[in-house]
C-alpha cells in the first residue's frame, strides 16, 4: 500500500533522477538548444506538399484534412515529434550510463523501476517543455478552442508521453541487455511511427494497407489528438470521425505500456544483467 512516507520517498527519488539527468544534459548547453529546433525541420516538406495539394483541390484527401486545418495538424505533429524523442531517450541514456559505468549505482539503489522511468521521463519533458508550450500557444492563437477542449488535448499529449516513455523504456532495457535486439526493435518502432499517420491522413496511403495502419495503436493517438482540437472548431465534422476504438486504444495503451515496461525491465534485467562492455 502507498503510505504518505512511501509517496514522499517516490517523489524525492523521481525528483533526484530528474535533476541529475538535467545536470548531465546541461554540461554541454548548445546541444540542448539545437534539440529545440530540430523537430521544426521535419514540418517543412509536409507543409510544402500540403500547400501545393490544397491549392489544386481542397478535398484532395477525402477526409477531415483541409486547407483550413492542415497547418494546425502540422503544428500538432510538431508537438508529437518533440515527444517522439522519448522512444530513443532511455536507449541513449542507458547506453551512456552503461558506458560511463554508473548504471550499476542506479540498479543497486533501492529505487523502483517505475521511479527510474518517471525520473528520466520528466527530465526529458522539461528539456522539451519550452518549445512544446510555444507551439501549443501558437496553435491556440491561430486556431482558438474552448479551454475544456484544450485541457483534453493536453491530456491526450500526456497519454502519448506515457506511451512513448513505456515503449522507450523497453528499448532502453534491451540496450543494457543486448544491443543487437535493441537495434532491431528500433527499426520496428521506426516502421510503426512511419505508418502512424502523424504528418499525413490515412487516405494518402493505398487502401490495401489501411487495415495495417488501423492495427497500429499510435494511429489512434495522433488521429484523436487532431480530432479533439478540431472538435473545438468544427465539432460536427470532428465527431463524425471519432470512434470508440480511439478512446479504448488510447486508454488501454496509456495505462498498460508504462506498467508493462517497468515489469519487463525488472524481469529482463534480473535474468540477463548488463552486457556489452
Amino acid at each position: 500500500m502507498f503510505t504518505r512516507k512511501s509517496l514522499f520517498t517516490n517523489f524525492i527519488q523521481i525528483y533526484s533522477l530528474t535533476i541529475k539527468d538535467l545536470k548531465l544534459k546541461l554540461r554541454y548547453k548548445l546541444e540542448f538548444i539545437i534539440e529545440f529546433v530540430s523537430p521544426l525541420t521535419a514540418l517543412f516538406f509536409p507543409w510544402i506538399i500540403f500547400n501545393r495539394l490544397f491549392n489544386l483541390e481542397n478535398n484532395v484527401f477525402q477526409t477531415y484534412y483541409s486547407k483550413d486545418n492542415f497547418l494546425l495538424f502540422l503544428l500538432l505533429a510538431y508537438c508529437v515529434t518533440s515527444l517522439l524523442f522519448l522512444l530513443w531517450h532511455y536507449k541513449d541514456l542507458f547506453y551512456d550510463e552503461k558506458t560511463w559505468k554508473t548504471l550499476n549505482a542506479i540498479i543497486i539503489a533501492p529505487v523502483s523501476k517505475f521511479n527510474i522511468l518517471m525520473g528520466y521521463l520528466l527530465s526529458g519533458l522539461i528539456s522539451k517543455l519550452l518549445p512544446l508550450l510555444f507551439i501549443i500557444a501558437l496553435c491556440y492563437l491561430l486556431f482558438p478552442i474552448p479551454i475544456l477542449t484544450l485541457i483534453l488535448v493536453v491530456i491526450i499529449l500526456l497519454c502519448i508521453t506515457l506511451t512513448f516513455a513505456g515503449m522507450g523504456f523497453i528499448l532502453g532495457v534491451l540496450e543494457i541487455v543486448n544491443e543487437d535486439i535493441s537495434a532491431s526493435l528500433a527499426v520496428g518502432i521506426s516502421f510503426i511511427s512511419l505508418i502512424s499517420c502523424l504528418y499525413f491522413p490515412i487516405t494518402i496511403f493505398p487502401d490495401e494497407i489501411h487495415f495495417l495502419i488501423k492495427f497500429n495503436p499510435l494511429y489512434y493517438y495522433f488521429d484523436l489528438l487532431r480530432l479533439v482540437w478540431w472538435s473545438g472548431i468544427n465539432s460536427s465534422e470532428a465527431l463524425e470521425y471519432i470512434t470508440i476504438n480511439h478512446i479504448l486504444v488510447v486508454v488501454f495503451f496509456t495505462i498498460s505500456t508504462p506498467l508493462f515496461a517497468s515489469y519487463f525491465f525488472l524481469r529482463i534485467y534480473n535474468r540477463y544483467g548488463t552486457s556489452g562492455y
Binding site: T9, K20, W100, N104, A105, A109, P110, R271, G273
Partner: protein, 308 residues
C-alpha cells in the same frame, strides 16, 4: 558466537560465449562471512572476483546455487528490495558521474537513498577522506586517487551495513593506498574486499579466500596463512654462465624437496619445503657458477603460486 551475515551455497555463474560454448566464471562457491569481519577475496584477473561481488550485491543472478544475506535468499526480488538499503558497492572508481561535480554526485545519491542530515554527513566524510575542497569541481578533473575517494564517500554516505569493495585501491600511489587502508580499517563494518594485490588483502583482512578460474582454492584466517608462509622458504640466486642454466634447471627439477621453480632473467627463484635440505641444495649449487644466493621473505603471492 560468530553471526554469519553472508553465505553462499554452491554458487555458480556461467556466461554464454560468442560463437557458442559457456564460460564458468564461478564454480560451486561456498563461503560465509561473519558480522563485522573484513573478508578478503584474492585472485588474478579473470578469477571470478567481480562476478561473485556482482551476485552478492544483487546486480546479477547466479546460474545455479544461491546466496543469502541476513538469511534472505538474494534470488527472490522481494528479498532484494530488503537487502539493497543494507549494502554498499564500490567497483573501483566506477559508479560516479564524471560529467557532474563531486557535490552533485553525493547529493544525488543521498537523495535516492533518503539519507537524513546529508549536508553534515557529506562535509564530515569528505573532510575525513580529504576531498572536501574538490567537491565543487567536475569529477573528470579529479586524479584517480580522488575519484576512488569520492567513490568511497558515495558508498559510506549511504550508511550500508555490508560493504563490497572491488579492487578499491588499484593503481594508487603508496601514500594514498596507506591512507585508504587506514580509513577502511576504521570503518567497523562487514566488508568483502577483492583484490589481486596480495599485500593489501594481507593488511586488511581477517580471513582470506583464494579464487582462481572460478574455484575457491583455499579459505583460511590470516594467522593460518602466516603460519603457512613460515613454512615456505624462498631462495633467489643468479648464475654467471647462461649456457649452464639449462643443466642447472634440469638438476633442480630432479630434486623432490624443491616445490617450485621460477625461471628469472639471470637465475632462478625456488621454494624448498624445509631448511634441512640446505646442505644438499648448496652442494648442488656449488657445481655451477652461482652468485648472490639469498633467502626471500615469503608473501601471500607465494602462497597463491604454491596453491594454484
Amino acid at each position: 558466537m560468530n553471526h554469519k551475515i553472508i553465505e553462499t551455497f554452491d554458487l555458480t555463474k556461467e556466461y554464454k560465449l560468442k560463437g557458442g560454448g559457456k564460460l564458468r566464471a564461478l564454480n560451486k562457491i561456498n563461503i560465509s562471512i561473519n558480522e563485522g569481519e573484513i573478508f578478503g577475496l584474492l585472485g588474478p584477473n579473470g578469477a571470478g572476483k567481480t562476478t561473485l561481488v556482482s551476485i552478492l550485491s544483487t546486480l546479477i543472478q547466479p546460474t545455479s546455487g544461491y546466496a543469502s544475506i541476513y538469511g534472505l535468499d538474494i534470488r527472490k526480488s522481494v528479498n532484494v528490495n530488503k537487502i539493497k538499503p543494507k549494502i554498499g558497492l564500490m567497483l573501483g572508481d566506477e559508479m560516479v558521474y564524471f560529467r557532474m561535480t563531486g557535490i552533485d554526485n553525493l547529493k544525488f545519491f543521498t537523495r535516492i537513498y533518503r539519507i537524513k542530515d546529508s549536508s553534515r554527513k557529506i562535509k564530515e566524510i569528505t573532510t575525513n577522506l580529504g576531498i572536501y575542497n574538490k567537491l565543487e569541481e567536475y569529477v573528470s578533473s579529479y586524479s584517480r586517487g580522488q575519484k576512488l575517494r569520492l567513490a568511497l564517500c558515495r558508498v559510506l554516505l549511504i550508511e550500508p551495513e555490508i560493504l563490497f569493495l572491488d579492487e578499491p585501491l588499484l593503481g594508487l600511489d603508496p601514500k594514498t593506498t596507506r591512507d585508504l587502508i587506514k580509513i577502511i580499517l576504521g570503518l567497523n563494518k562487514t566488508i568483502l574486499l577483492t583484490s589481486h594485490q596480495m599485500h593489501i588483502v594481507q593488511e586488511l583482512c581477517e580471513r582470506i579466500a583464494f579464487l582462481n578460474k572460478g574455484n575457491i582454492i583455499k579459505i583460511d584466517s590470516q594467522e593460518n596463512y602466516i603460519k603457512l608462509l613460515s613454512e615456505f622458504i624462498r631462495i633467489r640466486f643468479d648464475i654467471y654462465d647462461k649456457d649452464e642454466k639449462v643443466d642447472l634447471e634440469k638438476e633442480l627439477k630432479s630434486l623432490n624437496y624443491i616445490t617450485h621453480i621460477s625461471n628469472k632473467k639471470d637465475g632462478f627463484l625456488i621454494s624448498i619445503s624445509d631448511t634441512k635440505h640446505y646442505p644438499e641444495l648448496l652442494t648442488c649449487l656449488g657445481k655451477y657458477p652461482v652468485r648472490k644466493i639469498k633467502e626471500i621473505e615469503p608473501t601471500l603471492d607465494d602462497v597463491f603460486i604454491e596453491l594454484s
